[in-house]
Symmetry: C2
Subunit: 296 residues, 2 copies
């Protein structure tokens, strides 16, 4: 089942980092764009090279669906090929598509992305605004096929509080209420390491909330975006982990894809070295996260 597979893959690599492949075409280095004849094949090449470079030191990869949809129908093929490749080299594959609907429509999304026929992701991000009717069709497939979902609880963006931080009559915030729902939805799908295949998305940019949410959802695997480019650091995310340094996975997209441009490498890399730079950054991130969570 998903929670166990992810947990064990993190243990094996010793690295709670997920590489976000959100390939805006501007992020693809000229060295690739010059040698490919379309945006779609440039993106595919870029993805495959990064996956080849990092698959032995990271547990998982997260594809941001929007950038593939932006390419039109061909982007769906690029996504499918990239996901299949990541899976073939043993990475856990998360699709960040934030889908949401009800009943048979939610079931169609669940089958499209978590079913075996087309994309076969290991996990999908989902928006829970619609309540149980919008989650059950996804959690049913998680249970039947060993897949996972991550439900948006507290997002990393500056204005996430407009709705999510509103206080309810009983003193809880909307995001805490969402966390309680997630905790309830996930309690029947818990694996042998104590984590549920129904996880949650909580932004790295809200460290205090992250610690609070870790407690409200003790069994939820947390997917934490917002590290690096959005401003979150290792100390900001540490409270998303349990006392043994488990139970969370931290996403870096631009931080890895565009590592060669990073000031921290002070000109060491050019666009031709984007893979080496990404590998260096993934190792730095692993060390920073393990240090912050007192692991190893």
């Amino acid at each position: 089942m998903f929670a166990d597979i992810l947990y064990e893959k993190i243990e094996k690599t010793g690295n709670p980092t997920v590489m976000g492949l959100d390939p805006r075409i501007e992020y693809v280095p000229d060295s690739i764009r010059e040698n490919t004849n379309s945006d779609a094949s440039a993106v595919l090449n870029f993805n495959l090279k990064l996956i080849d470079t990092l698959n032995d030191i990271i547990p998982a990869v997260k594809f941001q669906s929007a950038y593939y949809e932006l390419l039109g129908p061909i982007g769906a093929i690029t996504l499918q090929q990239s996901m299949a490749y990541a899976k073939s080299v043993g990475l856990v594959v998360i699709l960040d598509a934030k889908r949401n609907d009800i009943g048979s429509t939610a079931k169609a999304y669940a089958e499209a992305y978590l079913g075996d026929k087309h994309y076969a992701a290991d996990a999908l991000t989902v928006n829970g605004y619609l309540g149980t009717d919008g989650i059950k069709p996804f959690s049913d497939i998680c249970e039947a096929k060993g897949k996972g979902i991550f439900i948006l609880v507290k997002t990393s963006n500056p204005s996430s509080g407009e709705l999510q931080d509103m206080k309810l009559y009983d003193g809880m915030t909307v995001y805490e209420k969402m966390a309680e729902l997630v905790n309830g939805w996930g309690k029947e799908i818990v694996g042998k390491h104590g984590y549920s295949s129904i996880g949650a998305v909580v932004g790295a940019t809200y460290p205090e909330e992250l610690g609070k949410l870790r407690k409200i959802m003790p069994k939820a695997m947390l997917l934490v975006p917002g590290y690096g480019a959005q401003g979150g650091g290792a100390n900001d995310v540490k409270d998303g982990f349990d006392s043994k340094g488990n139970g969370a996975i931290v996403n870096s997209s631009r931080g890895l894809m565009c590592a060669w441009k990073s000031e921290k490498f002070s000109g060491k890399y050019t666009h031709e070295d984007f893979c080496e730079a990404a590998r260096d950054e993934a190792i730095l991130m692993k060390t920073a996260l393990n240090t912050a969570t007192n692991k190893s």
Copy 2:
């Protein structure tokens, strides 16, 4: 701009009905499935026939993205072809995809679906849980390109209240707060008929809430799902309209796609007559809605 185009198209047809094309393959009659060699071409044929039959008496069509995504990458082409055809015969084209994300990712979704390059919908449904950062990239394109969005406020499903009905500290519910946000986001994009291109989704299954929300969002065009198969009738949706019977559009999906099976036609139609049955149902729906809103 979108709000004016939709308003005028409703006036012209005298019918505030939007046909939902949510083509689960089981909905496609045998007469079509026997003569096509794939699910994708069966769906395309089904859509084109329904569009041909109804385009002179309805203003708009709404495509449910999930059923096209369920077909895999080829489904993206089916969606694109269906949308282009609906547009070519003069229908307003709404894509129901409930997308949501932040910043450049939300912009990628907005460009993918509201931009000219691939799908070129007139309007897109959006989930507002992420706040202004998640809406601005969409509303910017609405403003620049005369497009529209419909933001989920109160959804039609039984469990929508789990989060949406929660009472906030000030006595408002979460969905009312969302409605206030929608009202604020839309106030700069109001057309000559007084309606904004930033609309809202409110379910037909919650008549009381519909009336309340009409008042909180006086300028929002309301997209009302849940009519027919989900249980909402003309009297349930009437409070979603303004005092002149304008400002809302009511979706029917199964009610039109599967009209030939409806008990109300007591065996008059077979699967071969699905188009005639859909036309009959669209006219019944027009009459029922206009009667309920006192619009001759």
